[in-house]
């Protein structure tokens, strides 16, 4: 198979035809921060955290495929600030209280905030009124923490072959909804792949809480992206 040559931050790399920038970079041990991209799901390009400058234009690395001679800027001060602003907007438009959130230490949004050195919001908090859906016996949905990444929508459809979640509304009115009046009315099961797919603390298994001690949680062990960057070291 013919390989495509391209550069990330001046370093020449190869990609398979049709491979996205995100996947090609990861294969070479270059971590591009991302949130909505998840395992082998068809990429979505909704969160824009993986934005890179690609031949001079800002593109989402999770959906943009590599082309011959492509010049990708990933680890630059400009891209860093761009991603930081996006992460910050994800925080301020929801109600994220890391200090008592049970996802703390396992949360990809929090881990990215640590990686980007975000200690306080740079934008005003919107403090929206959001609902908590505790109707399901084994799983709950806390809209306060939802960042509309769409992982649950896609995992439920593509991996669980169900249709428990959908987006409604557009623009700033866009919201995650369940297929029914409440989560209990969907055919969601606690064993479904979707339950483990949420990057934040929005879709959570009930009554697990803080079972993993501080110090042993996923991102206590190593910062986000470490596993990919390790390949490069």
């Amino acid at each position: 198979m013919k390989h495509i040559e391209f550069t990330i931050d001046g370093k020449t790399m190869t990609a398979k035809p049709g491979q996205t920038i995100l996947k090609a970079a990861e294969a070479h041990g270059v971590y591009i921060p991302h949130l909505c991209a998840y395992k082998d799901l068809i990429p979505h390009g909704s969160c824009r955290v993986c934005s890179v400058r690609c031949n001079g234009r800002i593109q989402a690395a999770c959906v943009q495929t590599v082309s011959e001679g492509m010049i990708v800027e990933n680890d630059t001060p400009e891209i860093h600030e761009f991603r930081k602003a996006i992460l910050d907007m994800l925080f301020v438009e929801g109600n994220h209280f890391c200090m008592f959130c049970e996802k703390s230490g396992q949360c990809e949004l929090q881990a990215l905030a640590y990686r980007f050195g975000i200690t306080a919001p740079q934008f005003p908090l919107l403090e929206p009124e959001r609902e908590l859906d505790m109707s399901h016996p084994d799983v709950y949905l806390d809209h306060n923490r939802c960042i509309l990444c769409g992982r649950c929508v896609r995992v439920s459809q593509d991996l669980d072959n169900k249709n428990c979640f959908q987006f409604v509304g557009r623009g700033h009115r866009k919201r995650l909804k369940v297929n029914g009046e409440a989560l209990a009315e969907t055919d969601l099961r606690v064993t479904d792949a979707v339950v483990a797919s949420c990057p934040v603390g929005a879709l959570m298994k009930k009554r697990v809480g803080y079972a993993i001690p501080i110090g042993e949680r996923h991102f206590d062990q190593q910062p986000i992206g470490h596993a990919i960057e390790e390949k490069n070291s």
Partner: protein, 490 residues
């Protein structure tokens, strides 16, 4: 009636305003410690998943978060039917709690109170056991009494390290979960703590001696300073009435030691206690139902606990308690300033308990969580450093909290603090509605003896300045003085 207001009150955890009310003759009729902030924890945890509660409620306070963490966890144990904890879980929590008692008592004594006890004892009326302003901090203690100051700081650090080893963080950890704990004690953590434990006990004995000597050297002044008779309430160990800070039954006695409540299981606290609301403060007034709001109020905390318990179940602290009790001829001690001595006896006890627990192999057990039949309502009571702490919850079938009632230590001590202020005002004012430096100091020292955490008591946020007003019989402010910070000019 005239009213004197003192604001702000410094070196207490929180925010306070004091008004002193005079009658037509100009005598002090009443004193009120006003709590004017409101935080509303009881309201905003409604609807949240019950397993979040032990972690959320500890945000009430940065000084004794473990107390809220454990009181809520004890309630949630019952919600999941897991109140019969495994030995590892029970001992891990006990270790966390006694670590908390140790660090909080060390903080209060060395950082907040010791300047008064060490520098404010020249016997002049103006001092009222209050250190000169420029010496009212732990650094002054460290300068004049370097060994004592250093020990105080290291003792607090040790308590914090016990908390870190059991909860994952020194402040706001996650060790207790409904039905158990999320970790055991690593051998490394055990060995790290164990090597210092005996030193901590030796230093605690020195602290007991400092508090004892202060008390015995000033027995006459202390006997009347902010002193008043009261009932006393605390948990005690069920089978023998021993001092018990993590889990026990309620016991209340009157000023002479007569039993008012005994062996009352924590789940039934409402049979004995009720709360009165007064319009001028957000802090409620709890009382023993059998005696009513006027006579049923009581003290809690170290002094009350040493009065209600039959003995302290660790040898060094028990010896100290016997010495403490000899002063009042085995009767309850009703002297406000005796809190300091009592607190240091508990510090010593906590040190002994920590040392003995560290030698217990159950702490390295693997069986961490237990569960049983679900319940919809539960109470968790613990003896926090400042006194009895009650958490009461209802949880619905969807796992959401539908009711929360918190009665915290400082709330129990609400009326006692008012009484202490009134006594100080009566002794100092002498019919002149003038807020002197002596009055300000006296009020602060008396209130501080209770180690109040006003942020907890109203679940209030922020730092607490002190304002004092004297109000006459017609409600007019006769005098007012505001102190924004202890180092500011008056």
């Amino acid at each position: 009636m005239k009213k004197i207001t003192i604001d702000p009150l410094t070196r207490v955890e929180g925010h306070g305003k004091v008004t002193i009310h005079l009658d037509d003759a100009g005598d002090v009729k009443e004193a009120r410690l006003h709590i004017i902030e409101f935080r509303g924890f009881e309201r905003f945890i409604l609807g949240r998943p019950f397993w979040e509660v032990p972690v959320i409620v500890q945000r009430l306070c940065g000084i004794c978060p473990v107390s809220h963490h454990l009181a809520a966890a004890k309630a949630m144990d019952r919600i999941v039917g897991g109140e019969q904890l495994t030995p590892t879980a029970e001992k891990m929590r006990r270790l966390m709690h006694y670590g908390q008692i140790f660090q909080s008592h060390a903080l209060h004594f060395f950082h907040l109170s010791s300047p008064d006890l060490l520098f404010g004892t020249d016997g002049s009326a103006a001092s009222a056991f209050a250190a000169p302003r420029e010496q009212r901090h732990v650094l002054a203690v460290a300068k004049s009494f370097p060994e004592l100051g250093r020990q105080g700081i290291l003792m607090r650090k040790f308590g914090q390290e016990v908390i870190q080893a059991t909860a994952g963080k020194k402040i706001h950890g996650t060790g207790a979960i409904p039905g158990g704990v999320n970790r055991n004690l690593s051998v490394e953590a055990r060995d790290h703590l164990r090597k210092d434990a005996d030193q901590m006990i030796r230093w605690s004995k020195k602290a007991v001696a400092v508090a004892r000597d202060f008390t015995m050297d000033h027995l006459l002044e202390i006997a009347t300073f902010g002193a008043f008779d009261s009932n006393h309430l605390s948990l005690v160990r069920p089978r023998d009435g021993a001092l018990e800070l993590y889990d026990g039954v309620l016991r209340a006695i009157d000023k002479d030691g007569k039993t008012l409540v005994d062996g009352l299981e924590d789940q039934r606290y409402l049979e004995a206690l009720s709360e009165e609301v007064r319009p001028w403060t957000y802090m409620k007034f709890p009382f023993l139902k059998t005696l009513g709001p006027q006579h049923g109020w009581y003290r809690v905390g170290p002094l009350a606990r040493l009065n209600t318990c039959r003995f302290v179940p660790s040898p060094e602290a028990e010896a100290a308690r016997i010495e403490f009790q000899a002063v009042t001829h085995q009767k309850p001690n009703n002297v406000t300033m005796a809190y300091h001595w009592a607190r240091m006896i508990e510090l010593l006890h906590a040190g002994e308990v920590i040392r003995d627990l560290l030698d217990d192999a159950d702490l390295q057990g693997e069986d961490l969580v237990t569960q049983g039949p679900r319940r919809e309502e539960a109470v968790g009571i613990i003896e926090a450093p400042r006194g009895t702490l009650i958490h009461h919850y209802r949880v619905d079938r969807n796992d959401q909290v539908t009711m929360c009632n918190l009665i915290v230590s400082t709330t129990h001590n609400n009326e006692p603090m008012n009484q202490a202020i009134m006594r100080v005002a009566q002794d100092t004012l002498a019919k002149k509605p003038e807020i002197t430096e002596g009055l300000l100091n006296g009020i602060e020292v008396a209130v501080r003896a209770y180690d109040p955490c006003l942020s907890c008591a109203t679940h209030a946020m922020g730092k607490m300045p002190l304002q004092v007003q004297v109000v006459d019989a017609h409600g007019a402010v006769a005098a007012e003085r505001i102190r924004s910070h202890e180092l500011d000019a008056p």
